[in-house]
């Protein structure tokens, strides 16, 4: 196959050896794990880091004077600094740990909802929130709920037939009334990479705050929040080699320090009296209660793993695999990519439809062959509606996948077609 992309520049076999599960068999076949957009596997280095922390240094954080408490606090705060470096954030205090990406979006939406009238975060009738039609439900529903609570209006940037944002009416959709523009960096269902610079430029013209959903970008490509010039950036650990239960909200410090808190409780306060309380600055302001401690330590180890390998190289490897998959699908009759069918501005998630076979049956049949893909609406039901399909089958590769696994999937698709056309 012809490709302008460089060959993979790291030893994929050595990487695979770090992930014991990849040596498994499923239904008598070698596991082919192509459900990474849903969740990634964890390398030994990450598991070891978490285990070592829990076995040797664990305690609650920010609460004690004893040695373990100090060690745990140091590890937790070092994890914050590590994530800040991973995102090229200027200040570690801009990194707020959440339990996942969903909590991060809700944190921002509820904080805005808690703002007093006149605050730059407050919304009311006449104000607008803008999202896109390709948002994951987690970056859509919290904004719908915010609009419902405040009387603000939700608007959205529609999609083109080719799976990209239709920016024709961008200047109308993002206007002087827009308070927030929240959008996805790389779509989990279409694979589309969105033009962050164009959207941020428009938001800045009208003074809207920007939130970028990086759940599908941060695991796969270098992210520099300063260069992206957004106000908020969200990622989740479990899609980038870390355990579930840890997510990150990054926000510009001058915003986080004055944004109203979301969850109230211990750790997020300054002075508590019976009649009322004042709040700590960021990040404690947004981390009420005992935080996710060992998962944060594991996330830092995941950042180490990714940066050691090099996200540029990871990205190049995935582009190679994705190009192979898209080109392979193009060569099959009755199979159609839903989303961009070229490598121009796209990530590793590839949705497709097999004519005459429901995605559930595709996924089940592929599982019989040891191939793990995701089927359904991928928490982006409006996208399925837009393209007139009830659901899609989605294959999404990551740093440990191989060209052989892409070929196994392509062969699996033809096996599925044969079975279902009997």
């Amino acid at each position: 196959m012809t490709s302008l992309l460089a060959a993979t520049t790291y030893d994929v076999a050595a990487v695979r050896a770090d992930f014991p599960v990849l040596a498994r068999e499923v239904n008598g076949r070698p596991l082919v794990y192509l459900d990474n957009a849903s969740s990634s596997h964890k390398p030994r280095q990450v598991l070891d880091a978490e285990r070592e922390f829990v076995e040797q240094h664990y305690s609650n954080v920010h609460r004690g004077v004893h040695t373990l408490s100090q060690e745990a606090t140091d590890a937790y705060e070092a994890a914050r600094e590590r994530v800040a470096r991973f995102l090229h954030a200027p200040d570690a205090r801009e990194v707020v740990f959440t339990k996942n990406a969903t909590e991060a979006y809700n944190l921002v939406a509820y904080s805005f909802g808690n703002a007093k009238a006149g605050s730059r975060f407050a919304l009311g009738p006449g104000d607008e929130v803008c999202v896109t039609e390709m948002e994951h439900h987690s970056n859509l529903v919290p904004w719908q709920m915010l609009c419902e609570r405040t009387g603000a209006t939700l608007r959205w940037i529609p999609l083109t037939d080719g799976g990209r944002l239709d920016l024709t009416d961008l200047d109308t959709l993002v206007n002087e009334r827009t308070k927030v523009l929240a959008f996805v960096h790389v779509s989990n269902i279409l694979g589309t990479t969105n033009p962050v610079d164009v959207l941020v430029a428009r938001a800045k013209q009208v003074g809207a705050l920007t939130l970028l959903d990086g759940a599908q970008s941060a695991p796969h490509q270098p992210v520099d929040v300063a260069a992206l010039d957004v106000d908020f950036f969200v990622l989740t650990g479990h899609k980038m080699l870390a355990p579930s239960g840890i997510g990150v909200l990054w926000g510009r410090r001058e915003l986080l320090d004055v944004m109203p808190p979301f969850l109230g409780g211990g750790s997020m306060i300054e002075v508590v009296q019976m009649a009322g309380s004042t709040y700590a600055p960021s990040p404690e302001r947004f981390e009420a209660g005992t935080p996710v401690i060992s998962q944060a330590v594991a996330l830092a180890a995941a950042c180490d793993y990714l940066d050691d390998l090099g996200l540029e190289r990871v990205h190049a490897h995935e582009q190679l695999l994705t190009a192979r998959l898209i080109e392979g699908i193009r060569g099959l009759d009755g199979v159609q990519v839903i989303g961009p069918d070229s490598m121009h501005l796209r990530g590793a998630a590839v949705s497709f439809a097999i004519e005459g076979v429901h995605p559930h049956d595709v996924g089940q049949s592929l599982d019989e062959l040891g191939i793990a893909v995701r089927v359904g609406h991928h928490c982006a039901a409006p996208v399925c509606r837009r393209y007139g399909v009830p659901a899609t089958t989605r294959a999404s590769s990551y740093l440990y996948n191989t060209e052989g696994e892409i070929d196994a999937l392509l062969e699996g698709i033809t096996t599925v077609q044969r079975f279902w056309s009997r």
């Binding site: 429901h358 995605p359 559930h360 049956d361 089940q364 049949s365 019989e368 062959l369 089927v375 359904g376 609406h377 039901a381 399925c384 009830p390 659901a391 096996t415 599925v416 079975f419 009997r422």
Partner: protein, 149 residues
């Protein structure tokens, strides 16, 4: 491939569904969705004299959900409501059995082909979509019928 799941009976009902298409007359129409996968069914029931007179439906979904709905119509149409509901309970029990229940062919007829589905917890909801819609519609039809003068 998937022989234990995709029994020939299931594939037959999927390719040639029975009683499909929305019909009049009917007492109640319901719309049920499986929110995790987007499968949906619109289903109508006509109950008269304690009998399930007709069940008609339109839907989209996987082979399991479509075939199961087709089998369900075979099993309930023409039966007394009480007996049809008992059949529904028997099918539900089979689906919740994780492969541990020997289905009664006298009760479930083609429905026994779904015994294998109970070993795939992710697909049980598919097999129950049509049944749950029917049960809901029938309960409404019976209640409305009782309330009517």
């Amino acid at each position: 491939m998937s022989e234990s799941l995709y029994q020939e009976i299931i594939l037959d009902h999927y390719r040639n569904p029975h009683h499909k298409g929305l019909r009049d007359p009917y007492d109640v129409e319901v719309h049920h969705v499986n929110p995790t996968c987007g499968d949906e069914v619109t289903l109508r029931v006509k109950v008269a004299g304690g009998l399930v007179q007709d069940v008609s439906y339109e839907g989209q979904g996987c082979s399991i959900s479509q075939a199961s709905t087709s089998v369900m119509t075979d099993l309930v149409i023409g039966k007394p409501v009480d007996e049809a509901l008992q059949t529904g309970e028997a099918f539900l029990a089979l689906m919740q059995s994780r492969g541990q229940l020997e289905p009664d062919e006298d009760v479930l007829e083609d429905g026994i082909a779904f015994a294998g589905v109970s070993r795939y917890p992710a697909r049980v909801k598919c097999a129950l979509l049509g049944w749950m819609a029917w049960k809901d519609a029938t309960a409404q039809a019976v209640t409305t019928g009782e309330a009517a003068p």
